[in-house]
């Protein structure tokens, strides 16, 4: 693992059990604190979370890293690549 990768952090945002806008609100709170290169991983049971996060990454230029269907919830990982501050 490179030094740069080691400096990047992965933040788990557990929004299971909440419906819209819970997962997005949790994602945006984490995004506000995140640095460029950080990964935010949203765990959601709300089916709207997947298309909403996909739209957000497409709109803002942040990177959608992976979407994984786990047992009973979805893991959605995004890399922060579009923040200017």
């Amino acid at each position: 693992m490179s030094v740069e990768q080691q400096l990047q952090s992965r933040k788990i945002v557990d929004s299971r059990g909440s419906f819209c806008p819970g997962p997005l609100t949790d994602l945006f709170r984490a995004y506000r604190q995140a640095k460029q290169g950080d990964i935010i991983e949203v765990w959601a049971t709300d089916p709207a979370a997947k298309p909403d996060v996909q739209s957000w990454t497409a709109h803002t230029g942040n990177e959608l890293v992976e979407i994984v269907e786990e047992k009973g919830y979805t893991r959605i990982a995004v890399r922060v690549t579009a923040k200017k501050s």
Binding site: G17, C20, P21, T25, F28, Y31, S85
Partner: protein
């Protein structure tokens, strides 16, 4: 020694809870077996839903205030003071000026604090209707002189109190300008971090066409970063900006200062709570209700009221000897005015998301 029920925060939730418990336990209070004490730092109770009418219809801000002591059951002990520290280990609250209070049950209802000063330039560059009725009145004064230009309504950060209020602000400023015959000279935009006009798709499907019909542009996925008050621009975290002549912003909200300084909440000061029992996580004798919790649900008076009812039943039953754990089911019921004397209600529970509902005159009357 009486069982001490201590309530911190005299907003909608704290006042409702204290009154309910005092009403149900009046006999035990009279016998000296129970005491109910409400601690609040303001002598006035603020009816926050009035802020929209103050901002966009010129209502008198003084009419949104009531003397808190007049609203409290005579069996409630009332302490007018702020809390400086909460020690859950010692089961004690230290007040700013009036010493310490210990408890058997603690109900935390200290609310959320609109904090425009936490975003660079926002306090200087915007007006808001979330912090105080007299701040809302500044919007009414400001819109009197608008003849042309750009008005932005922006959600500066989430979560915030009263989720429908930014939409209502857009509808009501539109209504104000139409009545003055100025609408064609003024651009109105709503900047929201969410993907659509309202977070819930079902509600958004109803109001998006109304926004379009009225020429109000919705800018989605706008996560505000800072405001340049001199250039009159608001920037998002990706570097995009919008110009404004008047910026009406929903400020970032934080948990209460005492929650943050006592380190009993998360990094923003929201209290970790069980979404059904409202018990603070890890503390069976402590409850949190209303805006102060970390539950991903509307921060609104209706929610605080319903949570207060559930917790009151729980504690009353335990004091009376037969414990009945009550469960708050996530019920929200937030009215949203859409202008022209029409309103809808955003109603849901944890298990049932909001359903489509059309704005009607009857629902507007129900809101009023």
């Amino acid at each position: 020694m009486p069982k001490k029920i201590l309530v911190l925060g005299a907003g909608s939730g704290g006042t409702k809870f204290a009154n309910l418990v005092a009403q149900h336990l009046s006999k035990e209070i009279g016998q000296g077996k129970v005491s109910v004490r409400l601690v609040g730092e303001r002598a006035e109770h603020v009816f926050q839903p009035a802020n929209l009418d103050i901002a966009f219809r010129g209502s008198d801000p003084k009419k949104a205030l009531r003397t808190e002591a007049d609203l409290i059951n005579r069996n409630v002990l009332h302490t007018l003071d702020g809390a400086a520290n909460i020690s859950l280990e010692e089961r004690k609250i230290t007040l700013r000026t009036k010493g310490g209070l210990d408890y058997d049950y603690l109900v935390l209802a200290p609310g959320a604090v609109a904090s425009p000063e936490t975003m660079p330039g926002l306090k200087e560059g915007s007006l808001n209707f979330h912090s105080e009725p007299f701040e809302a009145a500044k919007i009414w004064n400001a819109i009197q002189s608008v003849k042309k230009g750009k008005i932005l309504i922006a959600i500066a950060s989430v979560p915030h109190k009263c989720p429908p209020s930014p939409n209502e602000a857009a509808f009501l400023v539109d209504e104000f300008l139409r009545k003055r015959g100025l609408r064609d000279s003024v651009e109105i935009k709503l900047l929201t971090p969410y993907p659509r006009a309202y977070p819930s798709q079902a509600i958004s499907d109803v109001i998006q066409p109304i926004f379009e019909e009225r020429g109000i542009e919705v800018i989605p996925f706008f996560n505000a970063d800072y405001v340049d008050p001199n250039a009159k621009k608001i920037y998002n975290m990706e570097g995009e900006s919008y110009d404004y002549d008047l910026l009406l912003a929903v400020p970032p909200h934080l948990g209460a200062e005492v929650v943050r300084s006592s380190a009993i909440g998360d990094e923003e000061g929201w209290i970790p709570s069980d979404r059904n029992t409202m018990r603070m996580k890890g503390h069976s004798d402590v409850f949190a209700i209303g805006d102060a919790t970390n539950i991903p649900i509307s921060k609104s008076g209706v929610v605080a009221h319903l949570q207060a009812v559930a917790v009151a039943k729980d504690i009353v039953s335990e004091v009376a000897g037969v414990r009945e754990i009550q469960s708050y089911n996530g019920r929200i019921n937030c009215p949203m005015e859409t202008g022209s004397r029409r309103a809808l209600f955003v109603s849901a529970t944890y298990d049932a998301p909001p359903k489509r509902q059309n704005p009607t005159l009857l629902r507007y009357i129900m809101k009023k």
